[in-house]
């Protein structure tokens, strides 16, 4: 079980709640379970969500494991110059 924090706008489509406890071993499973629970999140995942694990931002490594006790924070996937 990991505790996941959603950024402001995303929590609006996840029952208005910023913090969620989810049983997930990696980013892929986290996204799947979030989408099962809150179908409104799916288009956001398609557009891109980055996952910060203990402060390090992962944008594409969906196989990245979520260590127990780690701080998991979801962020928009951004564009750069």
């Amino acid at each position: 079980m990991v505790e996941v924090t959603l950024w402001g706008s995303l929590s609006a489509v996840a029952g208005g709640k910023a913090k969620h406890d989810i049983e997930a071993k990696d980013i892929r499973e986290l996204f799947r379970k979030l989408a099962e629970q809150y179908p409104g999140i799916e288009p956001w995942i398609d557009r891109g969500i980055a996952v910060a694990i203990d402060g390090t931002i992962y944008r594409d490594t969906w196989s990245k494991e979520l260590p127990p006790g780690a701080e998991i924070f979801l962020l928009p996937r951004l564009a750069g110059g």
Partner: protein
């Protein structure tokens, strides 16, 4: 992938040196080939007809006269680019932006295009195309567009991110929010609160090379595209999808790129060139004029930002809040969102809240520009931070040091920071001689901080060892400022050979696996990881070949300083085999030796910078000159320090231009008034002083060398640093960027009149 990206704190022999870049001679002799320097047999000239209206329904387009003109080989409109986007809204916007479908949404929006045997014929043909417009009311100002009575740009847009879905459409496409704590409580605790509103005008990346491409589509569905781009693989995906081509049959070659800064991360005319070529059955060269670059590529957002910061008497910030409105052009974007994330990223805050609003306007579609959205937010925040320090009677640097984020701080955008460099850059600034240098009358000194995330992404490289022992490195990130030199250094470092033995090239889309866009300061970060990985794979083969030669187990062979060494006393008489030796024998030991790597380079390290700037203001004319400038920035690890300095200096120079003179000026008619380098005033050589740099190296734990990105952060602090310097020079707080002479003189006169 068994690649371990963790920082290892090793010593270097090549990394950190400053050799001459591999593409240098071609560039000083005029041989390097950029977007417009390539030609194909039978090539036609493409030209685009653009809307003179900011907002208009396209009622009809009659191309018959143009088609009849001798020498015209193809005329296209949106009909020739049918919608194949299959519900993908972002791709549909790219399609519509390439060629307007129902409405022209800004001055310069493409409505038709021709391919002809020469430029003169193409120009004449454009004049023969008859477009019937129904002109609609337009809006170009970000604040006006956000009003509920503003002309609607897209009546299908309802503001996202609100608690309830709005009943009426709006130009505000999205609301986003970040932060933590309770700002109301925080402001209640504050002894001092400063609240101000700011505006920044739209600027352009201003790369000197206009967009240019040569497109050739064959009847069998294969195609070639030669183009200046920051991401040829992304261009391939987008063009293939928009044209209905199979991606692997469209080969995109990235030319030398004459500057991008985010502006070449997006297709504009490339799908048009391909469509023209398909229709004409001949290659088509399409080069934008400078006027077209300004009117119809992707400038940055214009913004309107409110900032409120409170602090108690001891100098601790108790609460910080910002509302940010960013223009997106006529299509939805996420630019205010990035501004909202970066605004307070430098600080340790108990209570912080930022809200971003994305706003549609009748201007060209916003694209990324170097740390996109961060400079405007930093301008607003760092101006208020400076003012608050004054109010508190604290030194501006000390106040920032007291409130700087550090390892373990919860960032204003959410996650907790690992090791970061904001504190060290501030300490370096505090002790920098620049801070103590004397100033004369009408001169002032300012400083400001900046933050950027930095990205990684999908990356693929190939490392091939020739029979003579030299190494060719094929990378898929585009070289925008010397990355072939830095990546060659990395290959040399890993293999233990001399830099001169490595030659890096940027491979085309048919020669290498997919690579993400070269954006977010990711070029050296990502491709160095992939190069380290590819070199590791090559070394594995080199060891195997040596083991085979010696007829010993591969486990007993190690790779040290460019040589295979048989480890163990029993091999005492085996002389080490050099890379050259092994390469020479490769034909008889199993064939060519290569290392390949494909990976997602994630874990980019955030970076911070603090800048110091001295200005002199002429109080009679409002003219401002930057007389001294210093950049202090964390690089994580500088692979090629000279090019790192170059990034720092270039970012600062762009920020100086933005702060003082660059802006898009629209007339009441919604037309861009200054689409050229004469009146869009980027800094010239005599406008700038030398730009001093100090590179800090706080290793990124997620890169073997500790590399963070370096390309973007340096454009973030200058707007605020200069505004703070102007304020310290002549006592006026400038809240509107650019701080052009008429704006400064008006502010000074208002101050004098009290």
């Amino acid at each position: 992938m068994n690649f371990d990206p963790r920082y290892s704190g090793r010593n270097f022999s090549s990394v950190g040196t400053r050799p001459i870049r591999p593409d240098g001679i071609d560039k000083v002799t005029g041989r390097a080939r950029y977007g417009a320097d390539f030609n194909m047999a039978g090539q036609l000239v493409g030209r685009i007809l653009r809307s003179p209206h900011a907002h208009a329904v396209i009622k009809s387009i009659d191309t018959s006269k143009a088609e009849k003109l001798a020498g015209v080989k193809a005329v296209i409109t949106a009909k020739d680019l049918p919608d194949l986007t299959d519900g993908d809204a972002a791709m549909y916007d790219i399609l519509d932006n390439s060629m307007a479908r129902k409405k022209a949404l800004y001055d310069g929006h493409a409505v038709a295009a021709v391919a002809a045997i020469d430029a003169r014929t193409a120009r004449q043909a454009l004049k023969l195309i008859e477009v019937e417009y129904e002109v609609l009311p337009h809006v170009t100002d970000v604040d006006e567009a956000a009003q509920h009575h503003a002309p609607l740009i897209n009546d299908q847009v309802f503001t996202e991110g609100l608690e309830e879905k709005p009943a009426k459409p709006s130009n505000v496409t999205k609301r986003t929010q970040f932060g933590h704590g309770d700002v109301h409580k925080g402001f209640a605790q504050a002894d001092f609160v400063i609240e101000r509103s700011f505006k920044t005008e739209q600027t352009h990346q201003g790369y000197i090379e206009p967009h240019a491409c040569v497109a050739s589509v064959n009847p069998d569905g294969t195609a070639d595209l030669w183009v200046c781009t920051q991401g040829h693989f992304v261009y391939r995906q987008h063009c293939a999808q928009l044209l209905g081509l199979e991606a692997s049959k469209l080969r995109v070659t990235s030319s030398e790129i004459g500057g991008g800064f985010g502006g070449k991360t997006h297709v504009w005319a490339e799908p048009v060139a391909l469509a023209l070529s398909r229709k004409a059955g001949r290659p088509v060269k399409l080069v934008m004029t400078r006027d077209e670059v300004f009117r119809a590529s992707g400038p940055t957002s214009a913004t309107s930002i409110d900032v409120k910061i409170g602090a108690n008497k001891d100098g601790t910030i108790t609460a910080a809040e910002a509302t940010l409105r960013y223009s997106c052009g006529p299509y939805p974007g996420s630019w205010a969102e990035i501004g909202a994330m970066t605004a307070f990223a430098c600080y340790k805050l108990e209570n912080v809240k930022t809200v971003g609003y994305e706003v549609l306007v009748n201007r060209p579609k916003t694209a990324a520009y170097r740390a996109p959205s961060a400079p405007m937010a930093a301008f607003a925040v760092e101006s208020v931070v400076d003012e608050l320090a004054k109010e508190l009677g604290m030194d501006a640097v000390e106040f920032r040091i007291k409130n700087a984020a550090q390892e373990g701080t919860r960032s204003s955008y959410g996650p907790v920071y690992g090791p970061i460099g904001i504190g060290p850059t501030l300490e370096a600034v505090k002790s920098h001689p620049h801070m103590k240098a004397p100033l004369k009358a009408n001169q002032g000194r300012g400083m400001a901080c900046g933050f950027w995330f930095n990205f990684g992404g999908q990356t693929c490289t190939d490392l091939n060892i020739g029979m003579d022992g030299t190494v060719s490195l094929a990378v898929g990130t585009v070289d925008v400022g010397g990355s072939r030199a830095s990546l060659s250094l990395v290959a040399a470092e890993e293999l233990g050979i001399d830099y001169s033995q490595v030659k890096a090239i940027v491979a085309d889309t048919s020669s290498l696996g997919y690579n993400d866009m070269t954006d977010g300061s990711r070029g050296t970060f990502s491709s160095s990881m992939a190069t380290i990985s590819a070199a590791g794979n090559a070394i594995k083969i080199l060891r195997e070949r040596a083991a085979q030669t010696w007829d010993i187990p591969v486990e007993d062979v190690v790779w040290e300083k460019g040589h295979a060494i048989a480890k163990g006393e029993k091999y005492g008489n085996l002389a080490p085999l050099s890379l050259k030796d092994i390469a020479a024998a490769s034909g008889k030991t199993g064939g060519p030796i290569a290392g390949h790597s494909e990976l997602v380079a994630d874990g980019a390290g955030v970076s911070f910078a603090t800048h110091i700037c001295d200005v002199e203001v002429d109080p009679e004319t409002g003219s401002t000159r930057v007389i001294r400038y210093t950049v202090v920035q964390d690089a994580g690890k500088a692979v090629h320090p000279t090019y790192v300095e170059g990034q720092y200096q270039g970012g600062a120079a762009q920020g100086i231009g933005w702060a003082l003179n660059e802006e898009y000026i629209y007339g009441k008619d919604g037309r861009l008034q200054n689409p050229g380098f004469l009146d869009y005033r980027i800094p010239v050589c005599s406008d700038l002083p030398m730009i001093d740099t100090q590179i800090l190296e706080i290793p990124n734990p997620n890169h073997p060398y500790g590399v963070r990105g370096v390309g973007e952060t340096s454009i973030v602090p200058p707007l605020a640093a200069i505004a703070n310097a102007v304020s310290n020079a002549v006592g006026v707080r400038m809240t509107h960027i650019p701080m052009s002479p008429p704006r400064i003189l008006a502010a000074l006169d208002a101050e004098r009149e009290g």
